[in-house]
Subunit: 763 residues, 2 copies
């Protein structure tokens, strides 16, 4: 691969100018003539039977075109996998969509939505996943609230704990959180002569298209989706976008007019999917020297009212729950329970941040109990080449020690922080992780992407990639790979909009799979175009194929005896062949997994990471400032350094919120966090000293050698920060987020225990 990609030139993103100058159009900016606005009417109850829907008052309002309910859904009233387009009989959580109002203006639709009178019969409900699984709990679906469950077993737990010199048990829990993309979810659906045209910023455009086709009773070829610019996804723009697109599509099909539905921030909070709250009980046994002999993990996730992708999320959490450690005896069981809370689904990290928070808090707790250095206990147990995971997979290309070495080099993890000003205390914490790449065995589908290149007659290029550009820079990587192989400047290329009519289906842009799959596909596509052109040029020149060099928008022979500009070469080729193009398709190798025996290979490859955090805590307010943060990530090969650093920074920022401030509060099924004034996002002001370190150690197993870092970067921060808080206060917080209240409580405990006296750390 190195010889195909000899240089590493870094390019600005093509979409940067338009985004910075505000010229870019998001779906909310789009208007079409005759367009109607669609507003959802939602259940105010967590569990309630619909007795009667009276639309008469709403329909009297000026500008109202129609009110539609479940019985108007043209096709199958079920989105993947179980959420209905609109509730038929029973609303299963607060915010469940019961009807849609369609009107000429947004204001009219919103007013009319309030006039739709729905009579409900409230039903018994469950809000706590533990209660939900108890005998006699009111079932959300069918007979049981058992929604998902995965187990891994390795060795003999009894033997392992018997070997241990010390056994500790701890319980951790994580919060319900949201994606918090600045762009809320929305869609516009336009009826066309023979189907529907959907404008919709989804990260799985082909999945949305299929969801719309099914819910509208159309063939797949009757639904075309064009992706407008996406204003961030962070694991979202997925299940919620299906809901929105299906409702707007239904309205468009019935009214015959373009229909727009953009959720407000409040609606995103109310009906949008959330990150799974987890409760995780860990029991770990270790020798005095720190070697772990056994680990038992029992977990419970709140699935909420619909299953969606909870099975896969919990599967990932289960297979990664031990952290990146060599342990002979393991038992992990994580189950998911239906409740009458808003449903949980994919959020950046997809189960990893929850278990990584727990296992990495645990490792520091174990180190403390053993009086060991937190880095040393990790190094001692860390996965190395040939280690066997909890599911029996033999690891290759392991770069964990390299991450820890780098952490030791750049972060003073063995030293105490400098004393804080009075009234403040400082502490340091670390963490490390491993994470399976891409979809893995939890999603038994072909994990592939395709890139097509069309070269115009004037030598300019149009590139078609199915990987969604959500702000992560995925398009730029594809263009860069093509530029490197074909030797053409990135300025002569254009990334086509993502349109399901002609962009190759590359699955959803999830699981940190974008660069691995589309980067490799892009190289293959460019090589395909290069081969096609080389054959013609070599024949004209009577040269050998391998003597041709594509560089600096020129093609020349190695001895430079002949040369032609790239655009002239294209003109030449068009005289011989119908089109100058390149097709590339690349798939991750399939992994072997035994769903019966719960063992096998979970992912084709893994990446590793380590984090060091220093905090300064204000003892009066409980405010935690992260004063230094180092995020080291095993990226295989760096394709574009600013891009990968940017992606790490983004993950860290999201994880800071997870560690300290973000939580969607629900009390007895009723949403309490209704807008960003209560859902506190970190800003650039919360970043102090920060270093993103993409680490090149052993390359990934794919031809490009890259690894995906989109999600890993959001998984290491919370445990490192909470370990730092423990270091500062001597008191452990085991629930996320470590918000002002819980930190303040920990300060009080710390003071009562004498760890802090007179505003000064004592140890």
């Amino acid at each position: 691969m190195e010889n195909i990609l000899p240089k590493r030139k870094v390019y600005d993103r093509q979409d940067a100018y338009a985004k910075i100058t505000g010229k870019v159009k998001y779906v909310a900016d789009l208007k079409f003539s005759g367009m109607l606005y669609v507003q959802t009417v939602r259940s105010p109850y967590a569990h309630a039977r619909i007795l009667k829907i009276d639309s008469s008052e709403a329909l009297k309002l000026k500008g109202v075109v129609g009110v539609y309910t479940a019985k108007d859904v043209p096709g199958k009233n079920q989105l993947p996998k179980d959420k209905p387009v609109l509730v038929e009989e029973v609303a299963k959580c607060m915010g469940d969509g019961v009807a849609v109002v369609v009107a000429n203006t947004k204001i009219q639709a919103m007013k009319a939505a309030k006039l739709v009178k729905i009579d409900y019969e409230e039903l018994p409900a469950v809000y706590d996943p533990e209660e939900a699984l108890q005998e006699g709990a009111s079932p959300v679906h069918g007979d049981s609230n058992s929604a998902a469950g995965h187990t891994t077993m390795k060795g003999d737990l009894e033997v392992g704990f018997a070997e241990a010199d010390i056994i500790i048990e701890r319980e951790y829990s994580t919060q319900r959180a949201m994606h918090a993309a600045i762009e809320p979810d929305g869609a516009i659906v336009i009826p066309e002569a023979n189907g529907l045209l959907v404008y919709c910023p989804g990260k799985g455009p082909f999945n949305i298209k299929r969801a719309v086709a099914a819910s509208c009773g159309l063939n797949e070829n009757q639904v075309r989706l064009i992706q407008p610019t996406i204003g961030g996804a962070f694991g979202g723009k997925d299940a919620d976008i299906n809901v929105i697109a299906a409702r707007a599509a239904m309205a468009a099909l019935i009214t015959g007019r373009p229909c727009k539905m953009i959720w407000s921030r409040e609606e995103v909070l109310l009906e949008g999917t959330k990150r799974h709250p987890f409760k995780l009980k860990y029991k770990v046994g270790a020798k005095k020297d720190g070697h772990i002999t056994a680990m038992e993990i029992k977990g419970l996730a709140d699935v909420g009212a619909y299953i969606s992708k909870s099975q896969a999320t919990i599967w990932r959490a289960t297979v990664e729950a031990t952290g990146p450690y060599k342990i002979e005896n393991i038992s992990t069981t994580i189950v998911g329970a239906f409740t009458n809370n808003v449903y949980s689904d994919a959020v950046r990290g997809f189960g990893s941040p929850q278990v990584d928070f727990a296992s990495e808090s645990l490792m520091s707790e174990l180190a403390k109990e053993l009086g060991m250095d937190p880095l040393e206990i990790r190094r001692l147990n860390a996965y190395t080449e040939g280690s066997i995971t909890a599911t029996g997979q033999e690891l290759t290309g392991v770069n964990l020690i390299e991450c820890l070495d780098k952490l030791e080099e750049v972060f003073p993890c063995h030293e105490k922080p400098a004393p804080a000003p009075k009234g403040k205390v400082r502490g340091r914490g670390i963490s490390c992780i491993f994470r399976g790449e891409a979809m893995g065995a939890g999603f038994p589908i072909k994990d592939a992407a395709a890139v097509n290149i069309h070269i115009e007659k004037d030598g300019s290029l149009v590139v078609f990639s199915g990987i969604a550009e959500m702000g992560q820079g995925g398009s730029n990587i594809v263009l860069q790979m093509i530029s490197e192989v074909l030797g053409v400047s990135i300025e002569s290329m254009k990334m086509s909009p993502l349109d399901t009519s002609y962009v190759p289906d590359s699955g959803a842009t999830v699981g940190s799979r974008g660069t691995i799959t589309s980067g490799n596909a892009a190289v293959i596509a460019a090589q395909d175009a290069k081969d096609r052109m080389s054959k013609i040029i070599a024949e004209k020149w009577n040269s050998k194929l391998e003597d041709l060099v594509f560089e600096n928008d020129t093609i020349f022979t190695k001895n430079q005896s002949k040369q032609i500009s790239f655009s002239d070469a294209v003109t030449l080729c068009y005289k011989e062949i119908p089109g100058v193009y390149g097709y590339g398709w690349w798939s991750l190798p399939s992994v072997w997994w035994d769903f019966e025996k719960k063992c096998g290979d979970t992912y084709a490859s893994f990446n590793y990471g380590a984090c060091g955090a220093e905090v300064e805590i204000d003892l009066t307010s409980g405010k935690v400032e992260v004063t230094n943060l180092v995020a080291i990530h095993d990226v295989g090969r760096i394709l574009n350094e600013p891009e990968v650093k940017g992606q790490i920074a983004g993950g860290v920022s999201m994880a800071l919120g997870l560690a300290l401030t973000e939580e969607v509060a629900i009390e007895k099924g009723i949403l309490k966090t209704t807008n960003f004034d209560h859902y506190l996002l970190p800003t650039t002001l919360d970043f102090h000293q920060f270093k993103a370190i993409p680490l090149e150690a052993k390359p990934g197993t794919n031809p490009l050698g890259v690894k995906g870092v989109g999600e890993s970067s959001s998984a290491t921060v919370a445990p490192a920060v909470l370990n730092a808080i423990e270091d500062a206060l001597g008191v452990r917080i085991r629930h996320l987020p470590a918000d002002l209240e819980s930190v303040f409580a920990a300060i009080e405990e710390s003071e009562s225990l004498g760890y802090i006296k007179g505003g000064v750390r004592q140890n």
Copy 2:
């Protein structure tokens, strides 16, 4: 090929419902938010130097955003091949665009256009092509008004005329005519992040894209064209659409907003291209038995102010000018002259209707002089298998005699018509033609089309074809071919909109090349998809590839032991391969042509046709009713009988206008025909007894065996009708159209000569 296409099921057009119910959106129907309207300011003079352009009053008008002139053109101020986007120094004909006004509304733009003050200096001008070529004529471009000229020579003219028993000389002329699509030309151009999006109903979408790119100084990949539904083209929607798209693109690029320009009917008449008026002098020598011994043809076409595609039009006229007859000694020279008239360009038939009118009038005149039957003289001289054309091409697959036989069978060409009521006279006339298929040697480009098929995961299909659907039914033919090869119902297919982003470049839909090129490409694409699926199915079933049958949305083995629905088969295939698709590309064979020696093969294949017309002429008004018309066309193989009959009927209707009513009058460069009230189109009320007969004789040389009939159908009618008028009146009209005035003059002459007495035909 027969075994690939065993049955001939006829399908309704997919776009029929939307068109009939008015749901279809034409470019004029499209609106985009923030859209501006662009209006052209034009020269009122036929030849004038621009001294000063004062936009100040226009710019003061409310809603006016800008006034732009040639100096604002962002790229090259030249459209293919010579017309500027906006005139720089000298307007070369009335209607030449000098400036554009851009405003918030159409009305504002129109008002403001009138306020742009332009000072002109009138220049000497030429209006008559003969005068234009004379020494000392004021040149339109450069030094000379000689714009184009082609010659063919065969045998020895002197020898040929010496052998003749009779020599006659006649002069014919044809009018300036327009395309008269009901939808006038227009475009909307939208600035996008990295280029322009063009909505534009052009028949050569990739050509327009390239014209816009060049005139805007953009790369080709920065211009994307989406073709809205086309409301008819008839040879138009070509050069004029380039003009409109380039002006709207210029405005969009400057203002950064969507810009719309739709020409009014008056504007189409004023600035739009027209059919070339021809003057043709024929000298023909024949033996007493009717055998033609020599033919000399001298022609002159009015090119108007810009060359555009005049060279190719005149080339086609030159090589077809003799008509379909075996003649040993030929000299044909047709030249084109620049004048300060509106410029001439492609109109359905592209030079053929003009020469066919002349040569077929001549044949009937010669028959009359020799006292022969008009059918017999044609039969005697007609091209047959192995005949050598004027350019030395040996013909194969000749079906002219078959057309004449059919004419004799269905049209009473040897009998006199039944006597007309008093005050009316009746007559009968015939004609026959040959016509080169597709682009031929006059356009030395690859004459190819491509069709791509994408099969969705649910088994529904999306088809991509670069051939424009202009109302002729080209899309339906492509779908039908795929349906026949893959055995899937046409209802499960969708023809993708023509979008240059992803539809394969298939050249312009001109030259009657649509079905030949895209029909064959469609079969290849479908076979490609079939092969791809067959390989997988055959392996699963352990069957031989050749034992698989695709029929009735099912795939089964010949012995019917195994079967699977088409959609299940697709699902199966998706598990094995990344995509289920088919690519097809088919090109007409290149023709050998010597541009130096003016000889060689003009077209890869030819089609033939014959026409019989009966007219009834009102002696009081001069009104000619075509009371019976039979149009026989050699179509190779009939793919879809209603479609091909419809296409013939359309051509006949257009040719009826050419024969009798349509003319764009220009006097000294000044347009006199300003709207449809003066430009008289035939309607369905002008059709009496009419029969379109697509004739299957020897198939075409392409795999499908089809021939193109889009233009031939418009070439036979005028001479047949004018021969019938001559038959009725005994007086020959040699200028098109035979309008009320000229027919009335002929009636007066006929009466003065005694051919008609007391309102009754005497012979």
